[in-house]
Amino acid sequence: MRVGLMVTCLVDVMRPEIGLSAIKLLEAAGCEVVVPEAQTCCGQPAYSAGNKAAARALAEKFLDEFEGFDYIVMPSGSCGGTIRTHYADILADAPAALERYQRIQQRVYELTDFLVNVVKLDTLPAAMPTAFRGSVTYHDSCSGLRELGVESQPRALLARREGIALTEMPHARQCCGFGGAFAVKYGDISTAIVDEKCEYIQSSGADAVVLGDLGCMLNIEGRLRRTGDHTTRVLHVAQVLAGDS
């Protein structure tokens, strides 16, 4: 099974190690993983800003790079949500591209959804000696949860990771307040929202918050550190599942 890995623009620049963990997991599931060189961004920032022309250009570029694979997987519910649920709207005025898109739409997956529901991964890769062990609480990222139904998949996989104990925080499904450009334009509102999320994370008593999206990750980790919490780890689900950190 040839899987095209969409690394996502934020992982590429901010947390490359997550991309490597994703490859490790996909390979453990027996996939042949290919990372198309020319990939950049799925176009979501443009789409959310109302710049549909730029979003369409990037959607067409995505099709050029990824339409040849059996499956297209990404360690992000946000990019996954854009591609799987919004490309039809983004490409509405480009009939040829829309048709190409419709042929691949059902084969676009968020990483944990793919591991559980498509390849049915049963053995996680062996953990590195330095891998994180302890209690974790899972933050449901908005698009993954509400657009792709990613909720039980990461939890089921985490339950199989030795040395990891899952403890739920209150209101795990509540937004962290990132929202892309929202956090830049309305930083104070975003901060008030993320402060509540941080409280919930801390009240769970977990050693780490685990999540599936870079936006939430940078937002939550950034706020925890600024408010003096230097101990609660913030980890991407791929890193924990791959036994990398």
């Binding site: 509400r146 929202g179 830049v184 930083g187 509102i189 950034g222």
Partner: protein
């Protein structure tokens, strides 16, 4: 209500700094969110009920002219008068004319958000008619110098008991009470003489029913009954033209969802279905019954990409569940309707240029869409408004430039690779010894209040290439 949506940012800032308000807004989650989710478990099939509700609402919207005609015919046949208003000002003028025609001195009102659009109280006062709000929340706001409601079903959710106790003591000139039943009794004692002396009752209408010419009104305090039975002369219903439902059967479906989604009640304490004025065998009711059906921007949405918004049943679930509303409250939004539904309605009704912030001030988390009993795709509608803003030059120049540059690079993999390679290195350096970034140029609004762990300095692409070579 005067549009203040252009001051969104400043107002939201004040609300965030208001410690007391922040405490009061917690009620949204502890009360409404919890109650709704418990109440929905009573329905055998929530999803199917929602689908039914969507279908029934859209059937009315798609043939709005036909159903309004039917409604008018049936209501007229039962002795009511149906009037239409193209604008909110027209609607206020019509109500004023009705009051003058019948020599009204005092009008008692039950809750109506449409009357807020009309600035009805002000219009009545201008001609010497005294309007009295009788919904407890609206009454509290009226005696607090006509403060605006901050929520469509819980208008005074932004206040706590102590603030209201202070207000009552000041306005009622009585000893300060802090027990809620006692405070409510005091308000009832003040309102009672008004109920008995008013000549006109004004109510909103949750729905008007075409097949029977009736209005359906949902309340929890019974004040609506007093407003429609006590005044002997006139009852005026003011509501939007989109609130028509073809049949009573449609109403039954919607009523399974409305109180549950709004307050988490299986059914509201009071539910009235009012048809026509007092008949010759009736013991009570008004001599005259009027419907003022208000367009005020609604018909413009028919057939547009915002048409879905017209099926809104005004339950308030979207705002109760909105992370942004939960932090800034309703007043920040600056017009009648707050929260996600308001962020779509305000630009649509008062002009997109007067409410530029509203469609942007959402994380697009999607929870409003998930909880909406009639499945309005609110995030999609907000995004469409952003698109309109972007196309019509309503965004700041910086945004166009930044997006232009970003899109140029993102479509050119070679350039992009080069740019990200340097971005990763620069960010690593910015992290310094602590490896924390305190500020990112261009994203200051966000990073000013974050310490973001710096990246390791190489892009995934570089690391992957190196790995491929070995």
């Amino acid at each position: 209500m005067q549009v203040q949506s252009m001051h969104f940012k400043a107002r939201a800032g004040q609300k965030l700094a208001d410690v007391r308000l922040q405490q009061n807004l917690k009620k949204l989650t502890t009360k409404f969110v919890t109650a709704r989710s418990a109440a929905l478990t009573e329905l055998d099939d929530f999803e199917a009920t929602r689908d039914q509700a969507v279908e029934r609402r859209m059937r009315a919207i798609h043939h709005l002219d036909v159903w309004l005609d039917t409604f008018e015919r049936e209501a007229t046949r039962r002795g009511a008068t149906v009037l239409y208003a193209e604008t909110a000002q027209d609607a206020a003028r019509l109500v004023v004319e009705i009051a003058q025609k019948h020599g009204v001195k005092k009008a008692i009102k039950s809750k109506s958000m449409v009357s807020e659009e009309m600035q009805l109280n002000r219009a009545l006062e201008a001609v010497g008619v005294v309007p009295i709000e009788t919904d407890l929340g609206e009454y509290i706001l009226q005696i607090n110098d006509n403060e605006a409601p901050s929520h469509i079903i819980a208008p005074v959710v932004h206040k706590d008991k102590d603030e209201i106790a202070d207000l009552f003591a000041k306005v009622h000139q009585k000893p300060r009470l802090t027990d809620i039943p006692q405070m409510t009794r005091e308000a009832r004692e003040v309102l009672r003489p008004h109920f008995l002396s008013a000549d006109m009752g004004i109510t909103g209408g949750n729905f008007v029913i075409a097949e029977s010419g009736s209005v359906a009104v949902v309340t929890n305090e019974g004040n609506e009954g007093m407003c429609t039975i006590k005044p002997e002369k006139v009852h005026v219903v003011v509501t939007g033209i989109e609130k028509v439902l073809p049949t009573l059967n449609d109403l039954a479906t919607i009523m399974r969802l409305l109180p549950r989604s709004a307050t988490g009640q299986s059914i509201s304490n009071y539910f009235s279905l009012l048809t026509g004025p007092r008949g010759k065998d009736d013991q009570d009711g008004p001599e005259h019954m009027y419907f003022v059906l208000v367009d005020a921007g609604r018909s413009r949405l028919i057939g547009s990409e915002f048409e879905d918004m017209l099926r809104c049943i005004r339950c308030g679930a979207c705002m109760n569940h909105c992370p942004v509303y939960q932090k800034i409250g309703g007043h920040s939004y600056g017009w009648v309707y707050p929260g996600p539904m308001g962020s779509v309605l305000t630009p649509s009704y008062v002009g997109i240029e007067n409410a530029v912030d509203l469609p942007q001030a959402s994380t697009l988390c999607g929870e409003c869409h998930v909880v909406c009993p009639v499945k309005i795709p609110l995030p999609d509608l907000l995004r469409k408004l952003r698109e309109k803003q972007f196309k019509t030059g309503l965004r700041p120049t910086f945004e166009y430039v930044a997006f232009g540059v970003w899109a140029f690079f993102a479509q050119r993999p070679g350039l992009y690779r080069f740019a990200t390679k340097w971005a990763a290195r620069v960010m690593k350096l910015m992290g310094g010894q602590q490896r924390l970034i305190h500020m990112l140029p261009g994203a200051a609004g966000w990073t000013n209040q974050r310490d973001m762990p710096a990246p390791s300095g190489k892009t995934f692409r570089e690391i992957y290439r190196e790995r491929q070579r070995t």
